[in-house]
Subunit: 431 residues, 2 copies
C-alpha cells in the first residue's frame, strides 16, 4: 500500500458511461419495448436471459414467495428482519409533514408533502444481487408512503422460482407485493412506459449493469431515476491511538467490492500508516476476494500523511468520500468540521459494515466526490412537494399594485391584467 | 380556443434538446474554458457577446451595484423588497435541522444537514432577464445557509454596468455579493471548473438558452445542476360558479410567456367553457404579447369538458400541471384529492401571478408532467445530508453476529472480518 504525503494524491476515477454500441443497443431495446410492450419484453428476456416465458409468467406468484422462505437460512431471516426494523426506524425520522402558514389577512401558504404513487426497484441478478440493497431501496419508499412498490429482477439466477430466494424474501420482508422476473434494459423500459403486464412507474431506483444504467438515463424525464452510483470508497481519518488491524480490516472490506473501489487512510502518524500497510498485507493473505482487493488497494488505495488532524480534515473535505471513519481520541469533537462525507462512522466500534447492513442509515451513498452536493438515499427521494397558495380578497387588494409593478417591469402585461381585472371588479385601485 | 372532451386531449410537447452541432459547440466551449481558464472565457465573451474585457473587468464592482440603485424605479424597489421578504419567510419554513437519535446501548444515529458551500446562479441576458427569477433562485440558497452565492450574467444588455440595473438590484437585494459579467456555455464551464478569476462552485442553477442548457448537462457530475425547465403550463379546474373573465386572464398570463406554453381549462360546465373561450378572444385583442399568446392557445390551449369535478381532478392528476388553479365553490375540500400539481392556487383571488411574483412560494416549478415526481425549487436543493453512525462497544458485541451473517451471505468475507476482528479482540463471540 502506497504511503505518501496527502498533497501528492489525486483520486480521480473516470466512471464508465458505456460505448456508443452499448448505448445504441440500450436505446433500441427501450424503443422496442415502448412500441411493442410484452412481446418485446419476452423476446429480449429469451435473447439475453435464455428464458422463454409467456406474459402470465412474468409476475412472481405468492406461492413462489412463500416457497422462497423455506429455502433461506433461519439466521439470515432473523438478521434481515432486525436490519429491516432498524432501517425503517431510522428512515421514519426523515419523514416530513405537510405544513400551512396562516396570516391574519386570510392568506394561507403551505407545502404539501406527498409520496410518489408507484416506484420500480431494479435488483440485478447473479452475484450482484444483494438482499441488503433490496432493503435499502425499498424501505425508504415504503416509509415515504409509496402505495405501489414494484421489484424487477432477471430470471434464471437459481432457486425454485428462477430468482434467488434470498432476494424474494428480502423484498417480501421489506414489503414488496408486486414482483416481475425480468431484467436488463427491457425491464427499465417496461417500468418507464408500461406494457400489457407491467404498469408504468413514476421513479426507477436500484443498481444494474451498463445496459440498465444506459436505459435508466434514456427514460429519465418520462420517469425519475436515482443517481448512477460509482465505485465505492472509504476514507479513514485516524490518529496514533487507532488500532491498525481494525483500520486495515475496514479498508479491505471496501477494497473487496471491486477493483475500482478506493480505500484511503489519512493520518498524521507515520507509524500508524506503516502498521496499517503491513496489516493490509497480512490480512490480504487469507481474504477470499484477495485478488479484487489487491487490485483496488494498488490502484486507488493509499496512506496519506498529513501534519495534523486539522489538515486531515481538510483532505477529507476535499475527497468528499462516500464513507468516512473517524478513529481519533475524541471523534465527536471533529464532527462540526467535516463538511463533505456521505456517511460518517465515529469511533472504533462503528466499522463500516455496521452501516452497510444493520444500523439503519441507508447504504446507498453518493460516490466520486458528489457528497459535496448530494445525499444518501432517503425518504425525500420518494416524496414530492406541492406549493399551496390561497389569497383572500383582502390580501389581493392590499398587494395587487405591487404584483402589477413587478409584472409590468418584466414586460408581462398579461400577468398584470390578471390582477387588474380582479382589482377593478372587486373595488380596489387598478392603477 | 378549442373545446373538447377531456379524453380527446393529449398534452405532449417535445422539449428541445439541441442539435448535434449545438451540442458540439457547447462541449468545445466547455472544454476550452476548462483547459485555458480566463483566456478562453474572455475570448468567447468577445466572440459571442461582442465585449472585449480583461480578466479584472469580469467582476461587477460594488460601485456598479450602488449605481444601479439610482437607475431603478422606486416603486419597483419597494415591491421587490416586499416580495423578497415574503419569499424568505416562506422558504425559512422549509429549513430542517440536523437530528440525532440516542439509544440506551450507547448507539447514536443521526442525519446531519449542511448547506452546499458555493452555488452559482445563471441569469440570462436581454429580455429573458427576470428580476423575480433572481430572487427565486438566490433566496432558497441563502436560506439554506450557502455561504458563497455567485451570479453570472452576460454583459452588454443595457444599463450603466453593461448589465440590466434591475438584475443587479434584485441580486443585491437577495444577498448576492459576488457577480461576474459573463454568460453562455463559457460561464457555465467557469462555474463548474473554475478559472483564475472565478472559483468553482458545487451547484449551478438558473435558466438559459440552449447552449447554457447543454453546457449544464455536460458539467453535471463535476457539479450538481438544477433540472432543465420546459415550457410553462397552467390548468384551471373550475365549476359553473367561476368568473369567466378571471379564468381567461389567468390562461392568457400563462400563454403570453412563450408559443409552447400551455393553458387549459378543465370544467364540467359547457357554458363556462364557452364563456371563457369568448373572453380569451376578447382579452387577446388588446394584449401586447397577443401574437405569442395566440400561438400558445391555438397549439396547446384547450377547454376540456368533463362529467364532474371528480373526473376533472382525475384529468388534473394525469396532466400533473406546473400551475393549478382551483376555482370551484369550495376549493379547499378538493385539496386532498389533488395528487400531481407543482403549485396549487385556491379560489378566485389566488391568481397565478400572485405566486409568480409575490406570495412567497417558489415560481420555479416542475413542468411537462414531472410534478408527478419532482418539486418546486426549495431549500433542500441547496443542502446535503450526511448519515452519522456511532456504535458503542456494547452495541457492536450485541449485533456483530447478525452483521456477519448478512455479509457472509453476500459473499463479502472482508466485511464480516472487519466485525470479527473486533469481536475477537473485545471479547464477544466471533462465531
Amino acid at each position: 500500500m502506497r504511503i505518501m504525503r496527502a498533497e501528492q494524491f489525486g483520486l480521480k476515477r473516470e466512471v464508465e458511461y458505456g460505448t456508443p454500441e452499448q448505448n445504441a443497443s440500450a436505446l433500441k431495446i427501450v424503443g422496442d419495448v415502448k412500441a411493442e410492450g410484452d412481446a418485446a419484453l419476452l423476446r429480449y428476456s429469451e435473447q439475453f436471459d435464455g428464458v422463454k416465458m409467456v406474459a402470465e409468467e412474468l409476475s412472481v406468484t405468492r406461492e413462489e414467495i412463500e416457497a422462497a422462505y423455506s429455502d433461506v437460512d433461519e439466521r439470515f431471516l432473523t438478521a434481515i428482519r432486525e436490519a429491516a426494523v432498524n432501517i425503517r426506524t431510522f428512515h421514519e425520522k426523515q419523514k416530513r409533514n405537510s405544513w400551512m402558514d396562516l396570516s391574519s389577512d386570510g392568506t394561507m401558504l403551505g407545502q404539501i408533502m406527498r409520496p410518489l404513487k408507484r416506484v420500480g426497484v431494479y435488483v440485478p441478478g447473479g452475484k450482484a444481487a444483494y438482499p441488503s440493497s433490496v432493503l435499502m431501496n425499498v424501505i425508504p419508499a415504503q416509509v415515504a408512503g409509496v402505495p405501489e412498490i414494484v421489484m424487477v429482477t432477471p430470471p434464471a439466477t437459481g432457486g425454485k422460482a428462477g430468482i434467488d430466494p434470498y432476494i424474494l424474501v428480502a423484498a417480501a420482508e421489506a414489503g414488496v407485493r408486486e414482483m416481475y422476473r425480468v431484467g436488463g434494459a427491457q425491464a427499465i423500459a417496461a417500468l418507464a412506459y408500461g406494457t400489457e403486464s407491467i404498469a408504468p412507474v413514476d421513479k426507477i431506483t436500484g443498481p444494474g449493469n451498463i445496459y440498465v444504467a444506459l436505459a435508466k438515463r434514456a427514460v429519465f424525464g418520462a420517469v425519475d431515476i436515482d443517481s448512477i452510483a460509482g465505485p465505492s470508497e472509504i476514507v479513514v481519518l485516524a490518529d496514533e491511538n487507532a488500532d491498525a488491524a481494525y483500520i486495515a480490516a475496514d479498508l479491505l472490506s471496501q477494497a473487496e467490492h471491486d477493483e475500482m473501489a478506493s480505500a484511503v487512510l489519512v493520518t498524521p502518524s507515520e507509524a500508524l500508516g506503516e502498521a496499517v500497510a503491513a496489516e493490509v498485507e497480512r490480512q490480504l493473505a487469507t481474504l477470499p476476494r484477495a485478488e479484487i482487493a489487491r487490485a483496488s488497494i494498488d490502484s486507488y488505495g493509499a496512506v496519506l500523511l498529513v501534519d495534523s488532524i486539522d489538515e486531515g480534515i481538510a483532505v477529507v473535505n476535499q475527497l468528499a468520500p462516500e464513507h468516512l471513519e473517524v478513529l481519533t481520541a475524541d471523534p465527536m469533537k471533529l464532527l462540526g468540521h467535516i463538511e463533505n462525507a456521505g456517511a460518517i462512522f465515529l469511533g472504533p466500534y462503528s466499522s463500516e459494515p455496521v452501516g452497510d447492513y444493520f444500523a439503519g442509515p441507508n447504504h446507498i451513498i453518493p460516490t466520486n466526490g458528489t457528497a459535496r452536493f448530494s445525499s444518501p438515499v432517503n425518504v425525500d427521494d420518494f416524496m414530492k412537494k406541492s406549493s399551496l397558495i390561497y389569497y383572500s380578497k383582502e390580501a389581493l387588494l392590499a398587494n395587487g399594485d405591487k404584483i402589477m409593478t413587478l409584472a409590468r417591469h418584466e414586460g408581462l402585461e398579461g400577468h398584470a391584467r390578471a390582477i387588474e381585472i380582479r382589482l377593478e371588479k372587486e373595488g380596489g385601485s387598478g392603477a
